[in-house]
Point group: C2
Amino acid sequence: MAVPSDIEDLIALMARLPGLGPRSARRAVLALLKKRGPLMAPLAQAMAHVALTARDCTMCGNIGTADLCPICADPTRATGEICIVEDVADLWAMERAGVFRGRYHVLGGTLSALDSMGPEELRIPRLVARMHEEDTREVILALNATVDGQTTAHYIADALALSGVQISSLAQGVPVGGELDYLDDGTIGAALRARRSF
Amino acid sequence: MAVPSDIEDLIALMARLPGLGPRSARRAVLALLKKRGPLMAPLAQAMAHVALTARDCTMCGNIGTADLCPICADPTRATGEICIVEDVADLWAMERAGVFRGRYHVLGGTLSALDSMGPEELRIPRLVARMHEEDTREVILALNATVDGQTTAHYIADALALSGVQISSLAQGVPVGGELDYLDDGTIGAALRARRSF
């Protein structure tokens, strides 16, 4: 019983974060204990604040601090284009790239019979309703290039086929800075099939 | 501005934990945001509670929730032996091994001219005072087998040379389960020099 139970509890909670195990959680908590004033107290406060104020955007599913997320609330974002992403992490990645100026729709997962994720859970009816409200011209499928992601992309494309909007998806090919030698066969095949005039 | 500033602040604070960088801090915060009720709120609360209640033991420097840590407050721990460790992490490691039943003294670092860590900062005068109070028979130097750790061990051994207590240090040798093939030359040399009859 060298470690007081309060600290043990904190370590156990920290160990549930992705990328941290019991060992690294202990290390993180020890670092926090050494900086109780400058780091631990502000971190606890920031976390409690976000846990209290964060909410899912009622429009797109992004995380914000109001009913509408900063993107949906931004009048300068184009309303004619909706980019469909699997997850808030993917939305943040798209925003870091800084090339898309339309709106998003966060599915919150992929279709999965095993995890009982159906169209309702992925907020697809909400997407269809939005497309009418916002007079959407184009839906961009920015789903992960995994089997689950592509299955979901095909399902959405089918569901929207009769709506008359243009449906596109991210290009597949060689990553910027990528070396052919290190790429998998599937990517090289996709890049060759989608080749363009130089 | 896809990420609200409160959440950005939380990510920046998380990224200061050891083992987490900006990327993994973002991932951890996203995981927290997905489990606001079951994980984020309890974690924030546990962290705030520990930040408020944790304090350094006035006797040994271990971290506890009272003036005396659980070990110093435990009357069943032998008072005649003091094990000197560099850090609270090392004390926890010793306690996990569960073979030492005496008291500890946490230095809080090693002697270092660069970081202006002198004997005062390492609480060595406090150690000498304790040895008189507790009628110490043996001081066990459980410092890391690094240059800094061993320099500090020699300094402490010199400082206590006239006190008449027995001074020992952890044995060096082949780790349990270790394979000679993977050990460094220094460890093999130390194990050979400290060989014992079988």
